[in-house]
């Protein structure tokens, strides 16, 4: 019988750090990465020599950016591995770091996500180089894909597309309280809807900004927490970790939601949790409709109910379950490599009661969800007594 993370020794997030997500600038990836790593180490109250293994996640930088960053912390000779898994790169890195610590191979692992979009055009996707043709490949970009899903969803459930845009109102309000967010401005529904039209009902403010940034967490065992005297208010236990990739579904048009549904179910089962026990959910809201579809796919509410509940404030900070209190991809931003581990850091802060103005009171249980093109999906649960 295969083991789950919970069958291995307990593993904890003990520190989180960021470089603000922001538009592409002259800042080097080294500066971005060092800010996040030093922030995470300082948060945990440990020094770099205590780290025994480093996972560096990136999807847009040239190969091997890890050592050019980490050598400036004192090159200690530890294992250094790079992980690329599209938008879920650092979610994958976090999962592998947790497994490594839980297995007992190391006591302290560092997860760093860092990225800068290339200035010479997109790096592109391998899917476009398979040699298999496509009727309209040049006309379908991510926002077109999600505009199609939004049309399918709103017609299926009789939802006003303008109400789906309220996801962006909520997430911009959360991002305005997050000093690490790319967008830190409160927006009204009129401002969201009045933005530049992109596709379907989407305006630019309903779509994630892809910029640069970095996020890091330190993952540690109980042995390390004791040995390094890590403060008792820091550790947040990782109680579930699951990942799946896309299959052939009966209805392949909703593969993102299908993949989310099955991965979340595995993770919650492993953690022994029900969806209604979640206080915090950080999910992949690159486009407003995704948040609506994923809260339903996760079982946070019945199909077709996400938008009415959004309007009632159920997903607000202070509501039934705070969805994307960081601002999500729409407001906190989506620098690709850092995004997944940035969610983990946000949940750790929320469960520690250290999330400042965007704190969801009494949060004990959080779930992080990322999808990446391919498609892959990662779900983690974090808990604190």
């Amino acid at each position: 019988m295969p083991k789950t993370l919970k069958d291995l020794r307990p593993v904890y997030v003990v520190g989180a750090g960021y470089h603000r997500y922001q538009p592409l600038s002259e800042t080097t990836f080294v500066t971005l990465g060092l800010a996040a790593v030093r922030g995470a180490l300082a948060d945990a109250g440990i020094e770099f020599p205590a780290v025994e293994s480093a996972f560096v996640a990136t999807a847009l930088l040239p190969m091997a950016p890890g050592r050019p960053i980490l050598r400036h912390l004192g090159a200690s000779g530890i294992e250094l591995i790079h992980i690329e898994n599209a938008s879920a790169s650092s979610s994958a890195a976090f999962r592998k770091a947790c497994i490594e610590v839980a297995s007992g191979l190391v006591d302290v692992a560092l997860v760093l996500g860092v990225d800068k979009p290339p200035t010479s055009g997109p790096r592109g996707r391998a899917e476009a180089k398979t040699g298999i043709g496509n009727l309209a490949d040049d006309a379908i970009v991510p926002f077109t894909h999600f505009a199609l899903l939004a049309d399918q969803y709103t017609q299926r459930w009789g939802v006003d597309p303008n109400d789906v845009a309220r996801v962006a109102v909520k997430n911009h309000a959360n991002g305005a309280k997050n000093p690490n967010a790319h967008r830190q401005q409160v927006r009204t529904l009129e401002e969201i809807l009045g933005g530049r039209p992109v596709a379907g009902n989407f305006t630019t403010l309903q779509c994630t900004p892809v910029g640069e940034g970095a996020a890091a967490v330190v993952v540690a065992s109980e042995d390390a927490i004791r040995r390094l005297n890590i403060s008792g208010d820091k550790p947040v236990r990782v109680t579930g970790s699951a990942s799946r990739s896309q299959r052939v579904y009966d209805d392949n048009t909703t593969f993102d939601a299908n993949l989310t549904s099955e991965t979340t179910e595995i993770c919650l089962r492993e953690a022994g949790l029900r969806p209604d026990q979640l206080d915090i959910v950080e999910l992949h809201d690159a486009f407003t409709v995704e948040e609506v579809q994923y809260v339903e796919a996760m079982g946070l509410c019945a199909p077709g109910r996400a938008v009415p509940m959004l309007k009632e404030g159920a997903w607000d900070v202070g509501g039934r379950c705070a969805v994307n209190p960081s601002g999500g991809l729409i407001a906190m931003g989506h620098p690709i490599g850092p995004t997944g581990v940035g969610q983990i850091g946000e949940i750790a802060l929320q469960l520690r009661g250290a999330a400042g103005a965007r704190q969801h009171k009494g949060a004990k249980t959080g779930l992080a969800h990322m999808v990446g093109v391919g498609a892959v999906c990662y779900v983690h649960t974090l808990q604190r007594d």
């Binding site: 043709g133 009727l135 077109t144 199609l148 399918q152 017609q155 039209p197 992109v198 596709a199 048009t253």
Partner: protein
């Protein structure tokens, strides 16, 4: 008339016929588009298990979205992208033959047609596949 992407669809022989898509069928029963010989996405079979299958460019609308902002310079917005479930099984994404601002109801019957997109060096018309709602008889 010549197809812009002859690997993907045929040019219909007469005005009463609709284009056909070059799909494939696995011996496990899975029907896919476009044809490829790498292996079946459903069961992994390859070689003789995969056979070419002509799929009628006819089906029902799953969703549509009017694109208003598009980065690529060779295609000018606005245009409408459609997702169609073919009667033969696979879901394909294509363009609507005519731009339109109103919303097409899901479930609308759709069929393919070849729309002129340019001319070859020898003067022959080059056409690409588009979809349009089926006109009531």
């Amino acid at each position: 008339m010549r197809a812009l992407k002859p690997d993907l669809y045929t040019v219909p022989q007469g005005p009463s016929t609709i284009p056909q898509l070059h799909g494939g069928r696995c011996r496990c029963g899975y029907v896919f588009f476009p044809m490829q010989a790498y292996g079946c996405e459903k069961c992994g079979a390859t070689g003789d298990a995969l056979a070419a299958a002509a799929l009628d460019a006819r089906g029902t609308l799953v969703a549509s979205a009017r694109v208003l902002l598009h980065a690529a310079k060779d295609r000018t917005a606005p245009f409408v992208v459609v997702s169609i479930k073919l009667d033969d099984g696979p879901v394909v994404r294509s363009l609507l033959a005519q731009d339109r601002a109103d919303r097409l109801p899901i479930g609308t019957r759709m069929q393919g047609l070849l729309a002129e997109v340019g001319r070859a060096d020898d003067g022959e018309t080059v056409a690409d596949l588009r979809f349009a709602p089926v006109q009531p008889a």
